[in-house]
Symmetry: D2
């Protein structure tokens, strides 16, 4: 018997991570100028893959944005990492895709950048492409993703609430014993000054591509899934903020993004490529925010990544693909029942010293 539940975000199920305020969409797109696009490939019995693009519009008029990276477990094919770390910046949108398609996606991103108006004499591009292995549900060796798929993801990128679950680079992924996928969330806090957004509020938005092993925990309550059959998985996390943080500070944010995987039960297996990239859209018209402003940003990352990972699971749909393999969506009913039976869960709220 198959689940026929409608996809729901965590908050639609009444599941709230932490006590911090979200942005209007509770999504990475709450950071002004950040758009998300997906190309989803579902072809025949064997292809369940795709591309997801995170596009900061600020790159239209600035050569690069400050960025930091954390490699939680470097068993992955992250493209662009050394230049990102050296210069502390990204100069292209960030793309997510399937392991064996990484390099043709990167090549297509190079093509895209070279074609942009005003870049007719550019001779160097550092594309940012991360990946995860969707080979359990998709015929990954077929490498079906083409430059057109990449361009479609970039062109279709839009503001507002991004599609989540079994879409884009999350079409064929699985996490914590269930069908995984794309998830997003955001948090806002005040106190920062001189940020890109008005009124001094700082927004932190995250997007995840979930594909890793462990035992799912929803607000701390374990939800038994199926053991991972797949090796070489990964979790890629993209953090965007309009807070004027510099590259070093952003790398500290990126670290917390990977740390947050533990909150939903990641087992940090050695074959998983666990990466986080954090970038800032703030105009570089002053010194970076003081280090103390990082504390609410750290807490925001921890909360937002936990919720985005839950969204990636709750929004995913049961998928059958390559070799007849199936990954089942987690049953919302099972989760809600478990939460009801663990009333201690209600008082959840990661409080940090920065607020009270």
């Amino acid at each position: 018997m198959e689940l026929t539940q409608a996809p729901r975000r965590a908050r639609e199920l009444g599941i709230v991570v932490g006590s911090r305020e979200t942005g209007p969409w509770n999504a990475i797109t709450d950071v002004a100028g950040v758009r998300v696009g997906h190309t989803t490939l579902v072809e025949g019995d064997d292809i369940r893959t795709g591309v997801t693009a995170i596009v900061p519009d600020q790159l239209d008029h600035r050569r690069a944005l400050p960025a930091g990276l954390f490699v939680g477990n470097g068993h992955g094919k992250m493209v662009g990492s050394t230049q990102l770390a050296e210069l502390g910046e990204i100069e292209t949108p960030a793309l997510l895709t399937a392991t064996l398609s990484t390099f043709r996606v990167a090549d297509a991103l190079v093509s895209h950048m070279l074609r942009l108006p005003g870049r007719e004499s550019v001779q160097s591009v550092n594309p940012i492409v991360a990946e995860t292995n969707d080979g359990y549900l998709s015929d990954i060796r077929a490498r079906p993703i083409t430059a057109e798929h990449v361009h479609a993801a970039l062109e279709s990128a839009s503001a507002g609430l991004p599609a989540e679950g079994s879409v884009g680079a999350g079409t064929g992924t699985g996490a914590l014993g269930f069908k995984g996928g794309i998830g997003t969330a955001s948090r806002r806090f005040t106190g920062g000054t001189g940020t890109a957004s008005s009124e001094g509020a700082v927004t932190v938005g995250v997007l995840v591509q979930s594909n890793f092993s462990g035992l799912l925990r929803v607000l701390g309550v374990p939800i038994l899934g199926r053991p991972a059959e797949q090796t070489g998985n990964s979790c890629v996390i993209v953090v965007a903020t309009d807070g004027r943080f510099d590259a070093r500070q952003l790398s500290r944010l990126a670290r917390r993004a990977v740390f947050a995987m533990g909150r939903v039960g990641a087992d940090f297996a050695g074959g998983s490529g666990d990466y986080a990239i954090a970038f800032s859209t703030a105009a570089p018209d002053g010194p970076p925010l003081p280090e103390a402003e990082l504390e609410p940003a750290f807490a925001s990352v921890l909360e937002a990544v936990e919720e985005a990972l839950l969204n990636s699971l709750f929004m995913a749909t049961t998928t059958t693909g390559f070799g007849g393999h199936t990954k089942h969506a987690v049953s919302h009913e099972q989760v809600l029942r478990a939460l009801r039976e663990s009333p201690g869960r209600g008082d959840r709220g990661h409080r940090d010293r920065g607020d009270s």
Copy 2:
């Protein structure tokens, strides 16, 4: 009204983390040759501090042991880090103490090493000393720790179950809203070959010095403590194993040790110096264990660190110190009641692909 509960380890309270087998002591000393010693300083109203020594006997006849390091958040005064990383080894016992005493402890450790028989012409020592800030309960600026205290910790180091809770370098620490301290735990697994211990079993033991902020979670159940009043805290984790892992592999183990802090509710605040050191006692008489052997070791680290952190809290005793400040031990009764009210907790068990 003050708690008068007797200190208890997690398992004495019926709280079991994961499903893996422990060593005989469920302690870092289950790794053959590893001894632990404490000097505890409780003087007058203001001094609540100490030194903890982790002493691998293998250093008696080998110049150094393979070791790896992970800096989760480098806001700390870890001594010996760059040489540890460059050469992939430790050449002294590892000492833990209070922030402002770090360097006199390191100096005393140098004295200790120079005095050892056979080292009469040694001209260089790379002492390993890590620290945490116990300035809320202890007059840290007084720096009361002397070379004699250091030598006492080293000389008293013994096999068997180490003292836990408010002892040694954990005398004045606090974690997750409660009194913190020293905790330890271990795990064993089979499958490895060529290890120091007989029968091919590999032991992973950990010792923690807990002193960080966040919301305590016991097997996922939140236990409300008091907000941290203190800044500049740290969590130092020492991992020992008799598995023949090399420095690179040990640094991967160390990374999981810091990741495990999230399992008990760490908020990974920016002012915390979160470090893990992992070393191997195995004789270097063959190639390192294959990478696949790391999977059960990773899972063992995650479980053992979680349990050691719980032990550090459950074994701690309410302490009043500097400035009349008090850190309360977590109430076992409060924890057990919360667990009873969350029956979903029973099926806990971090399973990884590497076993079952």
Copy 3:
């Protein structure tokens, strides 16, 4: 007037770097099992580019070889770096090419690996591809390199003395004010035990792709070239050894490879992607060589890289390409005259403590 000199290796000109013994070919191919192949693209007026492949035969029967990386200046698009660092290994040949072709070369290398016998079910490949910007002499935006070119470089890889100078990935490069290209050299020393080669001798071979700015120095004597007109250059260095060094030790070797660039006058400009990869072909049938064995290996790397960089220049031929730009080969006569006028040069010989 144009130079019409025949390409000559440094030693053919009587220029000897250091006092250490070379391997039979004075080339990276002196490490048994290491082959080198080039595809050189010279098409019309605008295309001066190519691919160079370093192929360790040991990968035919072993999944991976121990490897280390050093990023001297990360302004480059090195593919495969994070997994190389995490696992301490390479699992593919190393390819060198032009910046904007990096990802299609990486994609072709993935295709090549997937097609190898016995890899029919492999779902993950970490290709190693490094690059440099040859956009001054070649129409880099045209990205003329195809999968066929990559396969040709891999298939044609052979033992013996590799072609040097304006070939393969060095076809369109320039260094230190002159035409640059591919160069190679090697050194041998005894004292190691348990190495892949017989008789306990250890061979260290290097191959460079030279493309960076500075003032050429030959055995310390400055040779005035033309200022660099090009930005975004790089120097990629591949070090192979049959010494049984582990990943950490190999990363120490890689560091010295970049340090050696200073010996020929590199100015370590910020836009240069300066990378070194070191790998070992030794069978993993014992513990790694003791750290002391690294000293002669360090000295060998310093000497061999210096000589390989000289070879890359002395073997290069004056090249005119994209936009009518020309890079002139350094005049051997000019170099030899300068050396004659600086008789102090004769006593060159970098001696280290590790030998006599």
Copy 4:
């Protein structure tokens, strides 16, 4: 026969490194607010050691200064490294001393900081102390350096030309086959905007503690010394600038400082702890300088470190110490003769693309 030459700086001997303008003192003290102090211990036959303090006055009114670190070879006992890297700053003066005295010097620096007015409630200090092994000329195991010696170095720190050669932390060191010691140099360039100094000029000053093996090269000309008898040496380099660079940029500067060691013939032996720290005194009242401003700063670091290393040798005096060991100062006459015999040296001048 012993040399009785008077100490001379490189420029007093007519030896000029590069073509860039120096500051008024050609010293690290050309960076406004940076003072240098030494305590020199020459006691009896066996003690030849000391302490050198680099004191930025800006720390009187700011908690910390932006700073970056590069570990060229981590075989050393650098204190303060992980917090420097995490927060991208130094909060104390930088001290240099002898290996086995490192920790008592660090402890004394902690005492000094705690005593400063306005710091009565400070509970955490991250002292910056680096070291080198002077055990060939000094009875390093005696550890004669006391807190008073440290305070004397800090208190005596002054502007103007620092003492060089066999003073302070360079009293007992040796480099490249000769007596080593302390050296300093500086460079200035225009083009930067918004710097701490007026008129937009940026100053880069360096101070070195030379103690490493290799074959001395003066402007490329080899000068034969004696092989190193000592192991565990180090080269510590401190770079100060008034350019408003951030921590990431400063770490790029620090990298070039270590690279520059190759210019005087360093062999980068495995036992040497080669470290560079770079800090900026500029007020944090705007965004960091653009990355392009780093190019002249890189070139300045390369030139200044090369010259400072030469100064450390040319200013050193022949020293006999522990065990009757002697390190001979390099003969100025020998150097000048070698340079005369290599007329090609005259056109020295490391030019980079950033200037012309």
